[in-house]
């Protein structure tokens, strides 16, 4: 079990990120920085973690997730004083596919927050980590990025972009000690998916997904399906020939 001494979580109010943070603080790291978009909500997460782990220094930083300048400046501030051992980039939102098709500005927003923004954060951290020659960049993608399908391909396309990015970043950093982990949760029981219950496969609990992620990061896996069974399910879905796949209503 690794103890990451300095952890940064971007998108700390995401339920999956919050539950990962709960697991990581039990290992008594020195410092945890929560980066969020909403001050009050992020502070609530910080208060929870401080109550769970009174010995850990937990701070909150605000950022504009869609401003490259703002992201760069924040990451510079976080990495100059001391190296970051682990960053989890977790923000995202699950848009309604139908509404994205009807309104391009919603599609634009979804692509921005699920693809561009996490990539910019990862890119900013990668430079700092490469310079000190250590660290781990964990990015939350999705099983939806493995193959586009009609019910959520805008979201899937964004997550697919994140995957291709993570692959390239991993290749670039292959000779260094900096590691990249792409996390692909299956459908998870979070506030983001409350309206989906029962309409598809059983949702995994957010606690279970967080445990898979924390374990996967410990084992230095480059790709973490959470729960692990999605590795097999998505393999089958990826291999389905087009003439079969296009008849499937998923």
């Amino acid at each position: 079990m690794n103890t990451y001494q300095r952890i940064v979580i971007v998108g700390a109010t995401s339920a999956i990120a919050e539950h990962c943070a709960r697991l990581w603080v039990t290992r008594s790291p020195d410092e945890l920085v929560l980066v969020g978009r909403h001050q009050e909500k992020t502070e609530a997460v910080a208060a929870d973690l401080r109550t769970r782990a009174p010995g850990v220094s937990i701070s909150v930083r605000m950022a504009d997730f869609q401003s490259p300048g703002n992201i760069q400046q924040l990451v510079d501030e976080l990495t100059t004083r001391r190296a970051v051992d682990l960053v989890l980039i977790a923000h995202g939102s699950l848009p309604d596919q139908g509404m994205c098709q009807a309104d391009l500005s919603l599609a634009n927003e979804a692509l921005d927050i699920n693809a561009i923004s996490p990539v910019l954060f990862a890119e900013a951290f990668s430079g700092a980590m490469e310079r000190v020659g250590q660290g781990c960049i964990a990015i939350i993608g999705s099983v939806a990025g493995d193959r586009g399908r009609k019910s959520n391909y805008i979201y899937g396309a964004a997550k697919g972009l994140v995957e291709r990015y993570a692959q390239g970043l991993d290749h670039r950093l292959g000779a260094t000690k900096v590691r990249v982990a792409l996390i692909k949760p299956g459908p998870t029981d979070t506030p983001m998916t409350a309206h989906l219950k029962n309409s598809g496969p059983a949702l995994a609990s957010v606690e279970e997904v967080a445990q898979c992620i924390v374990k996967g990061v410990d084992k230095r896996k480059p790709v973490i399906y959470a729960p692990g069974k999605w590795n097999i399910i998505m393999l089958v879905i990826k291999l389905l020939p087009r003439f079969v796949f296009n008849k499937v209503n998923i």
Partner: protein, 430 residues
């Protein structure tokens, strides 16, 4: 719309699920029509259901807010699980003073149903450890209440089955504990008289008392269990092992054929374990929590719980009459619990616990036949001046509810007009 069911799995109606994630802005007015707060869905009947309408899913409010290690005061959001509090606080020397038979329930649900534990005679029910709560009304009004603040609102909300507003935030007074262990004693009994003697005898020296009763045995034989908290033990912590019931069997596993051997062997097994021992709190308080989805064992039709409390004077004969009505009916129960409550009235207007004796039974749903038995049991409860537990109920008649809960008239004026559940429509007409 999403199918939502409660622990008894008797109905599976469509609900609109509205997640609540911000304790300061729960967004309650966003629900057109009525809605009801829903936590883990661990109540057995329809208290947490609102078929055709909406529920507020409270699990997103699962953050702790602050904890004072010196005084044991914990502030948290209403969707926090009791399990989360126990596992985090016991190593720090504090624990919940009151806990029901499962820890996989939310704090808000524990308050709304004013749940009780095995130590009712010492500490009362869950409402007794609440020092403050924050109630959001659908009008947008926010009411802070507690034992010394807006006491009427507090008394209406504790045990108020979610109808006075949505509990978003809570302050609890934990109790100091020396560790996770209890010293226990297991005593078989062969008659109800023996049970009552044991219960009375244990009241002063034992904090936790409960018994399993074999409702198929005419005399009312069973296993009495009692326990006290003790300090550190030179024992390894039990390994966390949990299993789950992976599928719903086509018929109830607990049925007329299996029940007699199950009850017989459980009794014989426990009888052999008579005497004293040491138990970890999780196995002592929550024996079924390690078997996830155990409610599936009752098959696709689900099951009923029937839990009543009878005043002590009429209780001894009342319990005997109920047991004989059950054995006449041919229905039977495996998870049958008999326990005495302490001599204290609960603080909630609709709280279930009261001085006397409580019997809890589970019955696989055999439709008409099961409901027929309940009618017979209802008349015994009514005659004894007892009442049924809303958290367990899916079918009690309105007149029995009204007779059992004299605080109801007073309660009605505290209801939130934007909140309604299947139970409130059944028992209060709206």
């Amino acid at each position: 719309m999403v199918e939502v069911t409660s622990w008894g799995r008797l109905t599976r109606h469509q609900h609109r699920v509205i997640p609540v994630t911000d304790r300061n802005q729960p967004g309650l007015s966003a629900a057109p029509g009525s809605s009801i707060a829903h936590g883990m869905g661990r109540s057995y009947g329809d208290v947490c259901l609102n078929g055709g309408g909406a529920i507020w899913q409270m699990r997103g409010l699962d953050r702790l807010i602050s904890f004072d290690q010196g005084s044991g005061r914990l502030r948290c959001e209403a969707g926090v699980l009791l399990q989360d509090i126990q596992r985090l606080m016991i190593p720090r020397g504090w624990m919940l003073p009151v806990t029901p038979g499962t820890q996989i329930v939310t704090v808000g649900g524990a308050i709304a149903n004013d749940v009780h534990g095995k130590n009712h005679h010492v500490v009362g029910s869950f409402g007794d450890c609440v020092t403050r709560l924050c109630l959001h009304r659908t009008s947008g009004e926010v009411i802070e209440c507690g034992p010394e603040l807006e006491q009427d609102w507090f008394a209406a909300t504790v045990g108020g089955i979610g109808l006075t507003g949505v509990i978003t935030e809570v302050e609890l007074q934990l109790r100091a504990t020396r560790g996770p262990w209890l010293s226990t004693e297991t005593i078989p009994y062969d008659s109800l008289d023996e049970f009552f003697a044991l219960a009375d005898d244990s009241e002063s020296g034992w904090e936790h008392t409960v018994s399993w009763i074999d409702c198929l045995a005419k005399q009312g034989r069973g296993i009495f269990m009692r326990g006290n908290h003790v300090g550190e033990q030179d024992m390894p912590l039990p390994r966390a092992r949990s299993r789950s019931v992976p599928v719903t069997p086509p018929v109830s596993v607990i049925n007329r054929l299996t029940l007699p051997p199950m009850n017989w062997s459980y009794y014989q097994l426990q009888k052999r374990r008579r005497g004293t021992g040491t138990a970890h709190y999780e196995s002592f308080f929550y024996p079924l929590d390690n078997l996830h989805d155990w409610n599936r064992l009752y098959g696709p039709r689900g099951f009923y719980q029937y839990q009543c409390v009878l005043p002590r004077e009429s209780g001894e004969s009342g319990i005997a009459a109920m047991l004989s009505a059950i054995s006449r009916s041919g229905e039977g129960s495996f998870l049958a619990v008999l326990k005495t409550f302490g001599n204290r009235e609960a603080l909630g207007m609709l709280s279930f616990p009261r001085p006397g004796v409580t019997l809890a039974l589970d019955f696989p749903n055999h439709g008409h036949q099961t409901l027929k038995l309940f009618e017979a049991l209802d008349s015994i409860v009514a005659e004894a001046g007892g009442r049924l537990y809303p958290a367990k109920d899916a079918r009690m008649p309105r007149h029995l509810f009204e007779a059992g809960y004299p605080g109801l008239d007073n309660f009605i004026s505290f209801r939130d007009p934007g909140i309604s559940s299947e139970m409130s429509r059944r028992l209060m007409g709206s």
